[in-house]
């Protein structure tokens, strides 16, 4: 077994590296020119890794503009508004594309693809292709495949003794990973506040991101996606969770949303006491240090799990991975009734980071070359599989899941069984053609901030889900009116691919 692995590994390495060098070598010459790129601290590792190589190969120089995550949006908008050409390309969350592409601030890429060529576009997973498009045109480069997934502790859920006790208490067997949010609730309650991993410290049932102004809204959207719609080609009733596509009425006051808010409020009772202080860093620290049984996060937890020294992981090899839990019912907002049906919806949470080229860029050709260079199959694999450590990049190409490259994942610190489970979980979500996409219309950040605002009160238990949803509805109506109802409706329909 080991011999075979080494063989595969060697082939891959001997084969891939020269190919990588060949793929882009020598054909361009940027001598004497400087490319400016805007990144936030999460992605600077990727940039640092490839910058020297790229500079050597193309002769160009790179000026890295590094900003903290909180400042990224501000800085990007300054450039869009002033058009001074401060940066040539930037890595941004795809969920901003509503404002960015809707406002016409970025270069459309289809002509560039034709001019310079984009190798292996078909290698990009369909869901990631979708998020790089806006209103039918490609406006961004794929770079990262982001989706929330379920993490569970195998040393808790797989113990037969616990399973039996659970059956006695709740009268059924749970699935691994949990099949729907009712199961999540019961499992969280069952594994809450006792030392099931026998390390002398109290464990808790569940943990997720819940701090304000970080990314808590995506945790509730995981649940909303299950209760507010069912999977299918996007229409008014399927794979649509935010607005009525005919009237642009927010759906956030419907029973589906309220049910999701109620669920997440209940889950806070089975979470560690510091829950409301969990931003992404705090949550990930807490989860890989073995505090909770269930967790819902992007692929990053899986990477951090592999590094006991750097990220203090105490759960290496103990995590199971799966898609988001589904639900036993969903709200049909047209007929205003619950439909009882076991189902599960995938949600492209945050949608991943993408690279964009602003219209004011001075070096479009260099920017194009750079992004294609770092996101090509071989290089992006090194970023995604953990060899470069925690880079914020998660797999987004079919070739990242190729069994032939599993050796690289192992070199990134993974156990071979773990990586298969991890890959399958992500693959299932990203290849789902009916996955719900993020809200991508102008003002997207404001809609989400309002959601975050009211969600925070629900999580803290100082308001009821009903009241929060009603207040959120008012906010969303106001934002929609401010931006113009008709145009917002047009944008929203476009973002779903509706005429």
């Amino acid at each position: 077994m080991r011999k075979k692995l080494i063989l595969v590994f060697l082939t891959v390495f001997c084969f891939l590296i020269p190919m990588a060098l060949l793929a882009s070598g020598g054909s361009v010459d940027f001598k004497g020119r400087t490319l400016s790129i805007l990144v936030n601290d999460t992605h600077v590792q990727v940039v640092d890794a490839w910058k020297p190589l790229w500079e050597r190969e193309t002769g160009g120089r790179i000026n890295v503009i590094l900003v903290p995550y909180v400042g990224l949006g501000d800085k990007m908008w300054i450039e869009f508004r002033t058009k001074t050409g401060t940066f040539d390309t930037a890595a941004i969350p795809s969920t901003w594309l509503g404002d960015v592409a809707g406002g016409g601030h970025v270069v459309k890429l289809d002509p560039l693809f034709e001019k310079y060529g984009y190798p292996d576009w078909d290698d990009i997973l369909p869901a990631i292709q979708t998020i790089c498009k806006w209103a039918g045109e490609t406006v961004a480069f794929p770079y990262d495949g982001d989706c929330h997934m379920t993490y569970y502790r195998k040393d808790a859920l797989e113990v037969p003794e616990y399973q039996q006790k659970f059956r006695q208490k709740y009268g059924y067997d749970y699935h691994m990973p949990p099949k729907d949010w009712d199961e999540v609730r019961d499992i969280s309650e069952f594994f809450d506040r006792w030392d099931w991993d026998k390390d002398g410290e109290i464990n808790y049932g569940v943990a997720f991101i819940a701090q304000q102004k970080t990314q808590a809204q995506w945790e509730v959207l995981n649940i909303i996606a299950q209760y507010a719609t069912k999977a299918g080609p996007p229409t008014n009733t399927t794979s649509n969770i935010f607005f009525n596509t005919d009237t642009m009425e927010p759906l956030c006051n419907t029973p589906g949303w309220i049910e999701a808010f109620r669920t997440i409020q209940e889950l806070t009772e089975f979470a560690p006491p510091g829950l409301l202080g969990y931003g992404y860093s705090e949550f990930r620290y807490a989860y890989v240090s073995g505090l909770a049984g269930l967790g819902f996060d992007w692929g990053d937890v899986g990477i951090m799990e592999q590094y006991p020294d750097e990220y203090g992981s105490k759960v290496k090899g103990k995590l199971g991975y799966g898609p988001l839990p589904g639900a036993k019912k969903y709200w049909d907002h047209l007929n205003e009734k619950w439909v009882y049906e076991d189902h599960q919806v995938n949600f492209l949470n945050f949608g991943g980071w993408v690279w964009i080229i602003p219209k004011s860029a001075k070096n479009v050709d260099m920017a194009y070359n750079w992004v294609v260079y770092i996101t090509n199959p071989e290089r992006s694999l090194l970023d995604a599989c953990g060899i470069h450590g925690y880079t914020g990049v998660n797999p987004f190409r079919k070739s990242h899941f190729d069994p032939a490259v599993i050796g690289l994942w192992e070199r990134g610190g993974w156990d071979s069984n773990a990586v298969i489970g991890y890959q399958k979980a992500i693959m299932d979500i990203l290849t789902d053609p009916y996955a719900v996409t993020d809200l991508r219309i102008p003002g997207g950040e404001r809609y989400y901030d309002a959601l975050d605002y009211h969600l925070a009160e629900v999580l803290a238990g100082i308001t009821t889900p009903e009241k929060a949803c009603a207040a959120l509805y008012d906010d969303w109506v106001r934002i929609t009116n401010e931006y113009g109802k008709e145009s917002q409706k047009r944008y929203y329909r476009q973002s779903l691919g509706l005429k």
Binding site: V67, P68, T86, S281
Partner: protein, 283 residues
């Protein structure tokens, strides 16, 4: 002040109160210093004594000066340039206006009204002018340029400069200047040769105070800065990243911002309260 008689017990109670107050005041800084020499696990433990309780490491400082060195040094340079330039403008305009208000009588508007109007410019919350500043600097193509931030910080500190200088000049005996006039000196001459040298401590105080405030200012740099013009507070704010709770980075980064101004402040400790109260209380 008279020396009151206190019993021994009174003294002990007094000193306990002082000690508590002092520890409470200095502990966060002490803790930052300790944390900046820790790494991963150690940083989350309540241990205080290096070598005995934990193994000190230069990881945090290595990050600040080597890994992120270019950024740290650039922002340090920016901080120094911005703070010293804006303080220089504050000093120049403040000394002139302060002298004028202290020595001459204005009739159409009273001296006091002018002074209070100047003071009122310090009252508005900085966020109130963020949007127009942003638009203005955009029009002038000054976004992400240190000049934009210098201009903004000067507005923030100018009222302080005027009031403090006015206060210092008032304290100077007028006779000396009057004597100079009789000797045939012009007003300009009297100002430069007599008044300014006499007010030297005041000038230093104004300069250093406005340097400190400019160094510490956050929100204008956050909005007007970008990459070339960022200062230390922005780098501190960026020390907490998505990668986890790297306390050692936060601690060492914060200390970079804290140490220079604290040292500066000790030089003008006599004037700090006077400066902060705009001359109303002579500390």
């Amino acid at each position: 002040m008279g020396i009151q008689k206190r019993s021994l017990g009174g003294w002990i109670v007094l000193w306990i109160i002082i000690a508590i107050f002092a520890v409470w005041t200095i502990f966060p800084i002490f803790w930052a210093v300790v944390t900046s020499f820790k790494y991963t696990g150690d940083a989350y433990e309540p241990t205080f004594i290096p070598w005995i309780q934990f193994k000190p490491t230069l990881q945090g400082w290595h990050f600040v000066f080597i890994t992120a060195g270019e950024r740290t040094l650039r922002s340090l340079r920016n901080s120094i340039v911005i703070a010293s330039c804006s303080s220089a403008i504050v000093l120049l305009l403040g000394a002139l206006a302060g002298y004028s208000l202290a020595r001459f009588v204005f009739r159409t508007w009273k001296n006091k009204d002018i002074a209070i109007w100047i003071l009122s410019n310090r009252m508005f919350p900085p966020v109130a002018v963020l949007i127009p500043y942003f638009l203005l600097m955009r029009t002038l193509r000054l976004l992400d340029s240190p000049l934009a931030i210098i201009l903004a910080h000067t507005v923030l500190n100018l009222p302080l400069g005027v009031w403090l200088m006015m206060d210092f000049f008032r304290d100077l005996p007028r006779d000396l200047e009057d004597a100079a006039f009789i000797d045939g000196c012009s007003h300009l001459g009297a100002f430069f040769r007599i008044a300014l040298p006499l007010a030297a401590p005041g000038l230093v105080a104004v300069y250093v105070l406005s340097f400190i405030f400019s160094w510490n200012e956050f929100i204008f740099v956050l909005v007007l800065g970008f990459n070339r013009a960022i200062t230390i507070p922005i780098v501190i704010a960026g020390a907490l990243t998505t990668k986890g709770l790297e306390f050692w980075k936060v601690a060492s980064m914060s200390l970079i911002g804290v140490i220079p101004v604290v040292i500066l402040a000790t030089f003008v400790s006599k004037y700090l309260v006077r400066g902060l109260t705009l001359g109303a209380v002579k500390g």
